[in-house]
């Protein structure tokens, strides 16, 4: 039996672009004029989807459009999407900061949000006073806070400064204190947005551990929004993917990841029809098929960062007696050329292969590439003299997904992890 704690029905949010001010009064009057005649708000009919890069037709955009979803008790729901997909708007509506333009959200529990912790901190007041104030802002009663005060202070690690005005705190200490207050909230539904991007590694570990306790141990319902796929993957069980203000996917978190990355046009399998004109071909050779395989030899787009990735190229030799070798290039989403590799010890360099179909594969080791999307190209080259016989760009693509785990380079660190490669190095 489903125990639904939160239900969103047809949530939409319209925003007006440009300067609010000029024309506000005339639009208001127009709205009111429609209303007293019993007509619909004229500005609700128009509006573009929220694609910031294209020029829209009207001054109104839909940040969210027709969002429907349900959350079950005890579920940790990840909300993922690119910048501007509407994640934050949805969270703002869920935490009652702003109202939806249409639709409704029904809830069976108190919702508390951790939207950018530390809101309402007053610099003039001491840490202790701020714990009470912040706790009350987040919906706790004085009694609840008093009973948890010691735990909060201990969790924050700011005991020594607790009677000092918060304005004398370092930014890290403020965040610790703020997160500590929020972590001891006891709402039935907790909304979290990007809080893990703050604080040092030790505190992040503590924070993510607390988040896991909240969701797993205490059976609390959590809605978690983040760009940090590693954190989302390790915390959430289910996810929804937003794109231009619409839900494009709702399902298990692994499938969500796939859907999220798929948007980057990755394809793990390409086959070219022999008869078609676009088959990559050289003088004596044609590329037939390319597959991205996981360790079980299955075609896969998404690979765990610690798993090997096997790329298999199938080609047909059309003319006998040619000596050649293979190569491939790897590019990331920003089109940075990550690496180039030649099969310099190939037997095809010394002994010509027979006519017909042949296979060649290359293995990219685990714990080597950073998370993200990759595209690879394939080349057939001749040495002495060097000559590129065939070079096909963008033959296949795949995604590397990071995770908070002992198997990854990241380990328990949940914050931003820079660098275009993420190899596991030996520290001595």
């Amino acid at each position: 039996m489903k125990d639904i704690i939160l239900k969103a029905e047809n949530i939409s949010k319209q925003y007006r672009l440009g300067q609010v001010g000029t024309g506000t009064l005339s639009h208001d009057i127009n709205r009111w004029w429609h209303k007293i005649r019993g007509k619909e708000n004229p500005y609700l009919k128009i509006g573009d989807i929220n694609d910031r890069s294209t020029k829209g037709k009207s001054d109104y955009v839909w940040a969210l459009q027709g969002i429907d979803f349900e959350v079950q008790r005890g579920e940790v729901l990840g909300i993922i999407g690119k910048n501007g997909a509407g994640k934050s708007t949805l969270l703002k509506i869920l935490s009652k900061v702003t109202a939806p333009t249409t639709g409704s959200i029904k809830s069976r529990g108190r919702i508390a949000s951790l939207l950018e912790v530390g809101t309402g901190f007053n610099g003039e007041m001491t840490g202790r006073e701020n714990i009470f104030l912040n706790g009350a802002i987040l919906g706790m009663t004085k009694k609840e806070i008093t009973s948890k005060l010691d735990e909060i202070i201990e969790f924050s690690g700011c005991e020594r400064y607790i009677d000092t005005p918060v304005k004398r705190y370092s930014s890290g200490m403020t965040v610790r204190l703020a997160f500590a207050v929020a972590a001891f909230l006891e709402p039935e539904i907790l909304v979290v947005d990007e809080v893990l991007a703050v604080g040092d590694a030790e505190f992040q570990k503590k924070a993510i551990g607390k988040m896991q306790d909240i969701s797993r141990g205490e059976g609390r319902t959590v809605l978690f929004v983040s760009h940090n796929m590693a954190a989302v993957k390790s915390l959430c069980t289910r996810g929804i993917v937003l794109e231009y203000g619409k839900v494009v996917f709702d399902g298990s978190i692994d499938n969500c990841m796939q859907k999220y990355h798929e948007n980057e046009n990755s394809t793990a399998h390409r086959v070219w029809e022999k008869s078609s004109g676009d088959i990559p071909k050289g003088d004596f050779i044609e590329l037939i098929e390319v597959k991205v395989l996981n360790k079980n030899n299955e075609i896969t787009v998404n690979h765990n960062i610690f798993d090997e990735i096997n790329i298999e190229f199938t080609y047909e030799i059309l003319k006998e007696g040619e000596l050649f070798t293979h190569g491939f290039n790897l590019f990331n989403v920003e089109n940075i050329h990550i690496l180039s590799s030649h099969d310099k010890e190939s037997e095809t360099l010394n002994m010509p292969h027979s006519k017909g179909i042949h296979k060649k594969s290359v293995v990219i080791p685990g714990n080597f590439l950073a998370e993200g999307s990759y595209v690879c190209s394939f080349a057939i080259m001749r040495y002495n003299p060097f000559h590129v016989e065939l070079h096909e760009l963008e033959v296949v693509g795949f995604n590397v997904i990071d995770e908070i785990s002992s198997k990854t380079v990241r380990g328990n660190y949940s914050g931003n992890f820079p660098g275009i490669v993420r190899p596991l190095l030996n520290w001595k």
Partner: protein, 287 residues
């Protein structure tokens, strides 16, 4: 089980509040926040100041002295047997409470946009806390009034309080509610139309001159019979005149005037609640 449970939802988030919905239960749940806001308003004002809470007293005292010199000594306004200083102090005290409430609450949405944009709590808590913390400041100022009252009494002035003083708290409550109501209306409109901010600034200053703060109401009727109605239709003037009647037994009390004041106050307050209620849900998009 879904359909069976639909009436068990704890709450529902919808595009607009109902035409009039003030959720007293919710406000009660957040009463601790209200008290903490009051505490914050009071203690943060005098942190890192030398004179601390004395600042609450300095302002009305110096204003009263200035008024006494200008309006009573220079302009020659007569205040009967009452020492002009005490007459002015009473008026200023009550007037200050009104303006503090109005100024404080009329800025609610704009100055709290940061916190309102992040977390939800009943927005009405903020203006309520301003009215309450100003009431405490008023209390402090009232103590200094009592001090001077006793001082002037022993100086041999003919002072007496009126039995109606029992109703003084109600009068002050009306002043607070009127300030709160007006403030809520203005704060809601300011989110869209910033022009109002400028209006409030000097509007309040001008309003003081037609609110019988530094002169008895009777005087304006005598000297400006044609424009006396401006003061007569100003509910603030009645409150101030009546509070002087209660505290100093001077001037007149008009039952009609007080009923009129009560009507205006309640109307303004309910309109304020209504407008505030409509604004609180989506002001964050326009502020």
């Amino acid at each position: 089980m879904d359909s069976k449970n639909t009436n068990e939802w704890l709450f529902e988030i919808t595009p607009k509040n109902k035409f009039f919905s003030l959720n007293f239960k919710e406000i009660w749940q957040y009463r601790d926040l209200l008290m903490l806001f009051v505490k914050r308003d009071i203690i943060t004002v005098y942190k890192q100041t030398v004179l601390g809470p004395l600042w609450y007293l300095i302002q009305p005292l110096f204003t009263s002295i200035t008024f006494t010199i200008i309006f009573n000594n220079v302009a020659g306004i007569k205040t009967g047997t009452i020492p002009p200083f005490l007459f002015n102090l009473a008026g200023i005290m009550v007037w200050n409470y009104f303006t503090a409430c109005l100024n404080g609450t009329s800025d609610t949405f704009k100055s709290n946009a940061g916190i309102f944009g992040k977390v939800y709590f009943p927005r009405i808590i903020t203006p309520l806390s301003i009215v309450i913390s100003n009431l405490i400041k008023f209390g402090i100022q009232f103590l200094i009034f009592i001090f001077f009252y006793i001082f002037f009494y022993f100086q041999g002035n003919d002072l007496s309080i009126n039995g109606a003083i029992l109703f003084f708290p109600i009068l002050i409550a009306f002043m607070g509610i009127l300030g709160l109501g007006l403030g809520m209306i203005i704060s809601s409109m300011v989110t869209k139309y910033r022009d109002l901010n400028n209006l409030v600034g000097f509007g309040v200053q001008l309003l003081m001159y037609i609110s019988a703060v530094m002169y008895p109401m009777e005087l304006i009727k005598q000297k400006l019979p044609k424009f006396g109605w401006i003061v007569e239709y100003n509910p603030l003037a009645y409150v101030i005149e009546t509070s002087r009647y209660m505290l100093l037994n001077t001037g007149e009390i008009s039952i009609f005037g007080l009923l009129y004041t009560a009507m205006v106050t309640l109307t303004v307050f309910f309109v304020g609640l209504l407008v505030f209620n409509r604004t609180e849900k989506s002001f964050i998009d326009t502020v």
